[in-house]
Amino acid sequence: MVIRLEGRRGRLIIHLFKRRFEWTVEPRYWRNPLLAVALWIGLPLLIPFMPRGLPIGPSTLITSLFLANVVAISAMAHSLQTVGTGRLNFGPQFFIVIGGYVAALLSKNYGLGPALTFPAVFAFTALLGLALSPLTIISGGLYFTLITLLLPLILAELVFWRADIFGAETGIPGIPRLVSTGNIMRDYLLCFYLSLAITLVLLIIIDKVLRSRWGFMLGVINEDEEVAASFGIQTKKIKVVVFTLTCGAMGISGWLLAHYYGSFAGTMWLEPWLLVFILLSSVLGGKATIYGSVLGSYFIVLSRTILRAYIKETALLVLYVVLLIALYSMPEGLWGLYRKTKYREYVPVIRVRRRVGEVA
């Protein structure tokens, strides 16, 4: 038999060919990521069946969830970048917009579809990141933050100056959609699931990296770069690689936006709110923890949608006040708050006998 299920004292063992997967189903151990992923994937399927007449329509809600994924992708990449370079980038929206424009221009000028623009966007934004990566070596602290803060401003001016290429506020129309089945609701849902798949893949990759010896070295660089270098960690090389790849990942957010809306106006995404959302997702989610970034993105984007639906004009004002209160009252972030409620840690412990006649 290909798949065989076996129940054993609060555990579900899944035999798949010769491999064996074990899942603890006892409620007090419910930290299982499978459960969270199942809910994450399953719940949006219920959105089309929402009752009519609510202030939030199904399409608005799905678009918000899609946008939450877009913010989550950038926030995760930004968190990894912060850990791996020990520097705070204030220009993630620069790379998002570059990604969006690359997708839009390639579609408009060369007729490329989303499948072909995806690798091009990643490659271009990663190469741009590589070109800018010496900044992580020659500048640090406030200088790095200020330099990266200037990048979106420069791009915004460039967009207006070369309106013939970038379309200024109007943007570039006619970009092929991510999916086109003829049913709008189905398209929205499929787009959401595509963005969810990218978010999940990125989440798994970053999680694997952070749990490996590379992640450990990134942590040391983040804490004390000089100590890291004096204990053999190749700080420059690691910073360049991390900056380059995370910039590429941020570019994918732009690719999603361009192909979801079918037109791309960078000026809209270069505004400070996107930067604030990305930074707050990392911090409010749980101080640059990867899972926290996803939680934070969903919390912020969905809060905005709900507030907009119910209180309209003052929605953003209330949102920022709520976020301010949340930041003040939850210094450990949403992920930290969740972890605090769990009494059991799953960190492996090595038990070693002490030697007889131990020195000192």
Binding site: E226, G232, R354
Partner: protein, 245 residues
């Protein structure tokens, strides 16, 4: 093993290391002493690659390392400890030694998993009696334990040449003696060449075979502990000149 020739380091108008030339042979244990601000730690920083020199050359085992970064020097076998313990306070004792094990893997050596590196790190913690403290965050360790952890971390890089920068500063006499015995033991067990920067002259004078004395960035004496203590320039550097009023 190590040859430093005409090394110069300036900080603005101050010449912290002024034309220093030293030769250290393999297996030696050398004390580096001098009054405060004499340039001892700057010399350690220059040899370990923390600072770039303004002049001179550093040759380690026939390789010119003057322009190499601290990570490359570490992989060649140069390790150091810090005067003020620079451990990562948010990490446990075990993690602080583990990254030294991971980082010190030489080119071409088999890459280690994090678990293998942690297992090796435990061995070094055990040598210094810190095994029980392996899961304690560094910010919760006592100064004596931090000093030992500094030594464990340096040893975990599998060095050939170790620079110990004031390992006894802030310790009581019993703890200082214990650290001195450990440094001696490291030299014998791991066949290390050691340069030991220290202020506690009582201990260092009976622990080393050769003493280098620095004052105002210059090397003013080089000899056995007995020779150095009789040197008029050393006495003047430490005690000042006799003035009859």
């Amino acid at each position: 093993m190590l040859r430093v020739s005409k090394l110069v380091k300036r900080f603005g108008a101050v010449i912290a290391v002024n034309n220093v030339s030293v030769k250290i042979t393999q297996g030696e244990i050398v004390g580096l002493i001098g009054p405060n601000g004499s340039g001892k730690t700057t010399l350690v920083n220059l040899v370990s690659g923390f600072y770039k020199p303004d002049g001179g050359r550093i040759i380690f085992e026939g390789v010119d390392v003057t322009k190499k970064g601290p990570d490359e020097r570490l992989k060649l076998g140069i390790a150091r400890t810090f005067q003020i313990p620079r451990l990562i306070s948010n990490m446990t004792a075990l993690q602080n030694v583990t990254y030294a094990v991971v980082g010190s893997r030489r080119f071409g050596e088999k890459k280690m998993t994090l678990m293998e590196a942690a297992a090796e790190a435990l061995y070094y913690l055990d040598i210094f009696g810190l095994l029980r403290k392996r899961d304690v965050l560094c910010r919760d360790l006592a100064l004596y334990e931090l000093r030992l952890l500094e030594l464990a971390r340096a040893l975990a890089t599998n060095p050939k040449f170790l620079m110990v920068d004031e390992a006894m500063a802030g310790l009581n006499p019993a703890e200082a003696d214990s650290v001195a015995k450990l440094v001696q033991r490291l030299r014998e067990e791991f066949k290390l060449t050691i340069v030991w920067v220290e202020h506690v002259l009582r201990v260092i004078m009976r622990s080393v075979e050769r003493v280098l004395v620095m004052n105002e960035g210059r090397l003013i004496a080089d000899g056995t502990p007995q020779e150095v203590t009789r040197d008029a320039r050393v006495v003047k550097a430490y005690m000042g000149e006799r003035v009859v009023v």
